[in-house]
Symmetry: D2
Subunit: 278 residues, 4 copies
C-alpha cells in the first residue's frame, strides 16, 4: 500500500552517505518529496531528513538503511500522524491558550491527552475545550513528593512529548531523566541571558532594549538544554518589568508553538547540546 514516511538518520559522517541512502530509496522505487542534509564538521556528524512516498514496509526499509550507514547510526522511519502530548502549566494562560486554540482548529498536529497544573486556576480554560485537567498541588509536599505524583499521572498515558507551557517549578534530575528529550520548555528570556527566576525583572534592571523567549529541550541543567527556537521583542525605557512581561508573553507563546510544530513534524535533531532543524 502507498505510504508516506519521514526518514531521519543521524550518524558519524562518512563518504558517500547521500549516494548510499538515496540508492536505497531509488532501488525500492520510492519518491523523494523533500530531502535535507547537514554535516556538523566540528563533530563529523551527518544528519539527513527525507520524505519518501511509495510502497514499503517500515521495518524492512530501516533494515536496508542500516546496511549502508555507519554502525552508530540512529535511523527513524516515522509515518506522519498526530502525536500525543501532555501539557504542564501553572497560572499563566497565554502559552496554554495558544496551544488549545490551535488544537481546536485542527492545526496543532497533536492530541492533548492531559493537562497537569500545580495550581487550579487554569482548570476552567482547559475544561472549556473538553480536555481533562489534573490538579496536583505542591502544598505541603517536598519537590520529590510532588514530582512523584506528577510522574504517576504522566505514566498513566502513552505520549510523545511533555510540554511545559509556563510551568513555573524547577524539575529534578530524576524527573528530567525519566523523560529524556521528551520535555519541551519555554523560557521567558533570550537564553543564555537571564537564566533563572524572573527574567523580565532581570531584563528591566539591566536596561536592555530587546527582550526574548527561548523554547528548548529540558535537560538536567536549568535553562540549559538544546535550543529549538528563539525570538525577540523590542522594548524601551518606558517599559516597567510588568510591561516587559506582558509584551514578552506574545513572544513566548509564538516561540513555544513554533518549536512544538517543529518537534511534532520530526524536523528537529538533537546534536549534543544543540539542535539541527530542517
Amino acid at each position: 500500500m502507498q505510504k508516506r514516511a519521514r526518514v531521519l538518520i543521524d550518524c558519524d559522517d562518512a563518504k558517500g552517505l547521500v549516494y548510499k541512502i538515496s540508492k536505497v530509496f531509488y532501488d525500492r522505487d520510492l519518491n523523494i518529496d523533500n530531502n535535507r542534509e547537514f554535516v556538523d564538521k566540528e563533530h563529523s556528524r551527518f544528519f539527513m531528513r527525507t520524505i519518501v512516498t511509495g510502497l514499503f514496509d517500515i521495518d524492512e526499509l530501516k533494515d536496508e538503511l542500516k546496511k549502508v550507514v555507519p554502525k552508530d547510526a540512529q535511523i527513524r522511519v516515522i509515518e506522519p500522524k498526530d502525536k500525543k502530548i501532555i501539557l504542564m502549566v501553572t497560572k499563566e494562560s497565554h502559552a496554554l491558550g495558544d496551544i488549545l486554540v490551535r488544537y481546536e482548529a485542527g492545526e496543532l498536529g497533536a492530541e492533548i491527552v492531559s493537562v497537569i497544573g500545580n495550581h487550579e486556576v487554569l482548570r476552567p480554560l482547559v475544561e472549556r475545550f473538553d480536555i481533562p485537567f489534573i490538579y496536583i498541588p505542591a502544598d505541603g509536599l517536598s519537590r520529590e513528593e510532588h514530582e512523584a505524583k506528577v510522574m504517576e499521572e504522566i505514566d498513566k498515558h502513552t505520549f510523545d512529548y511533555i510540554v511545559l507551557a509556563k510551568y513555573m517549578r524547577i524539575l529534578n534530575p530524576t524527573f528530567v531523566k525519566a523523560y529524556a528529550y521528551k520535555i519541551i520548555n519555554i523560557h521567558h528570556s533570550f537564553l543564555p541571558a537571564f537564566i533563572g527566576a524572573n527574567p523580565y525583572k532581570q531584563a528591566y534592571e539591566r536596561g536592555v532594549k530587546i527582550i526574548g523567549a527561548t523554547a528548548h529541550y529540558v535537560t538536567n541543567d536549568l535553562d540549559e538544554g538544546p535550543i529549538i527556537a528563539q525570538d525577540v521583542i523590542p522594548v524601551t525605557h518606558r517599559f516597567s518589568w510588568r510591561d516587559m512581561q506582558n509584551a514578552g508573553r506574545d513572544g513566548e507563546k509564538i516561540v513555544l508553538s513554533r518549536a512544538l510544530s517543529l518537534v511534532l513534524n520530526d524536523r528537529v535533531f538533537v546534536n549534543g547540546n544543540k539542535t539541527v532543524i530542517f
Copy 2:
C-alpha cells in the same frame, strides 16, 4: 590536482535525481562538503547545489552529469574565485561605501573593475579606494544616448555582475536585455509596496509603521525582477519622509550587500520570477 567546485544544477524534476547525481560524485571519489536540493512542485523543477572536492576535470564532470539529468538541465561547475563587478551609482554613498569597505577588508569576494556615475559627486569616495570612477553625465542626452555611452564603458570590461548601488535612473529594455540576470538592484522599499519614484515619500504618505528594502535582479519591468533579499525597519508617526529615508539607508546597504554575497557565492538560482537561495 585537488580541486573544489560549486556544482549547480537546475532541471525538470525527475525520479532519482539526487541518487543519480550523487552517484556521479561517488563514482569519481569526490567529497561532498555541502549539498542542498529543492523541488518547486508547482513547476516540477529541481534545483541542487553541491560543494565537491577531489580530483576532477570541470568539463569532464559536466559531461558526466549531463548524462544523468534531463535534457533541459542547466549545469554549472564553478571554481570559487573572486568575481568581477561593475558598480553604477548616482549621488548617495551609503550602498557604495558599504561595498568599498568590504572590498578593502578583502571580504567582498569580488574585484570592482569600475564605478560608473551619472553624477560626479561620488568620485572622491571611489578614488580614495584607488578604483577608477567613470563619469558619464546624462545632461543633454536622451536616455538611449546616455545608456549607449554607459554600455560602451561596460563593454570594455570582462565582468560577472553589474550592481546598481543606488543608481537612480530607469534602465531601458535594451540595456537590461544586454545583461540579462547580471544586473542587481537595491530598491528602497519593501517590494511590491511603493514601486516607482520616491518610495519613502509614498511610505510616509501612507502612514506605514514599517519600511523596507529589496535587492533583486533587474528585468524589463521596473522593480519587478526576482527578489534576492529583503529587510525591514520599524518607523513611527514621528518620522518625516526624510527621517524614513535616513533610517532606510541602513536597511538598503545591508540588504544589497547580503544579496551580493549570495550572488557572488553562487547561492542563488533564478526560478521564473522568483529565486531559490541555498
Copy 3:
C-alpha cells in the same frame, strides 16, 4: 473623589499649548502620570495624551481645557474602564482565539458583547467561552441585504469598537460610514503590498522573502484606512502559499491584538489617513 483619566487633545498647532494645557492641570492640583505630545508639522496639527490623577469633574475639566486650546480642538477625557467590542468572523479561528484567550485571562481590557459570523464554523469555539455567537449567513442575500441584517444585530448593542477578526467579506460604504473609525481590521499582508484577495497567493507568486500583517481602521476604500500596527515574518522559497498562510497567521493575530490593545487604551489618534500612537 480621587480619579484617574486619560486626556486626549488634538487641534491645530499653536504657541504655548503644552504650557497652557499643563497649567490647567497644575491649577487644579492634578498629577500628571504620563504625558506625550506630537506635532505633525506638515499639517500643523498638535496631539497630546496625558494621564491625570486627582480630584476633578470630567465635564468641568473639559470646559477648562476648551478655553485654552484652538476652537477646532477635539478634547476627550476618558476614565479607564473596559470598553465593549463586537467581533465579526468568518471561518479562521486564530485571531478570534487569541482575543478569547486574552479575554478569559482578564487581559483584553474589553468586554466582548457579541460575535457575529457569516459562517457557523466558529460557533463552538465562541460558545466554549460563554459568549453569544450570532450566525448571519449571506447565502441568497445581496451584500446590502446581508449587511442590513448584520447592522440590525450590531445596533442592538452599546459598543465602542467592531473588530474584524478575519471577517472575509468586503464591507459597503454604508456599513463603514455607520461606524466611522470604530471598525478595526486585520489585513493579511504588509499593506500597501498585496491589496485585495488572497494576499498570500500574491506574495507567493511575487516571490517575496518577507510576508506581513497590517491592522488598520476600516474606511471606505478597501484596505486603505489608517494603519495602527504592522509586523513581518521571514519566508523562503520553500514556502508554498499555504505555508505562508500558516506562518502568517501568527503575525496576524499578534498584530491585531496589539492594535486592539492600543485602541482600547486610547493610545491611538487618527490623523487624516495616518495614526499617531502614544
Copy 4:
C-alpha cells in the same frame, strides 16, 4: 539673534515640572519644536528633552530653568553643532568603515579628530579619508603603560566622545574614570548574554538561534555599562562561529552607528545603569 537649542533636564520628580518648565519657554516667547518627557517611577526621576527656537541667551535660559526645578537638576542647553569624536580600533574595519563613510557623506554629525589603533592594519583605510591614524602598539608594555600612552594622545584633543569601534582590549578603571560617560563601545553579543571574550564562539557553542550586538557606555565593569542600542540577527545550525562573526558584523556596525547618532544628537540620558532615549 534667532537660535535653536536642545534643552535636556533631569531631576527628582516633582509636581508641575512640565508646567513650570514650559512656562519658562512660554514667558520668553520661545517656540517648542519637539518635547518629550519621561518619569522613572521606580526612582522618582524626571527626564525632559525639548527643542526650543527663538531669541535667548543660553546662560540666562539655564538660570531661569534652575529657578523652577529641584536643586539636584542637571540642566543642559546645547546648540546643535558637530561634536568631536576620537575613534579607537584594533584590526576589524567594518564598524570603523561605516563611520568613515557616514563622515565622508556629511551624515555623521561629528568631526573625527583622531583614530587610535593598537595595531597598524587599519592605517591605510583611515588615511584614505585624510584622517590622522595614531598607532600605539601595546607590545612589551603593561596594560597601564599602554593606556597611559593612549591617554596622552587623547588628552591632546578637545573632544566629546571616544568611540570604541571594535577596540579589542579591556580598559582599566583609571582610563574609564578619566572619561566617564564619554566612552561608547560596541559589544559583539546581545548583552548580557556572552559577556567577555569571543562571544560568537560562545554563541556557537550554546547553539543559539539568534545572535546580537549591543552598544553601551563603558563603565568600570566589563560589558556592564548602560545600554544604548541593541539588535539581533537570526542564525541556524549551518553557521560556524566564523559565519556568526561575519553575519554579526552587519549588526555591530549598524547598532554602533545608531547609538552614536543618538548620543551625538543629545537624545540619550544616563539613568543609573540604564538609558532614557528620546
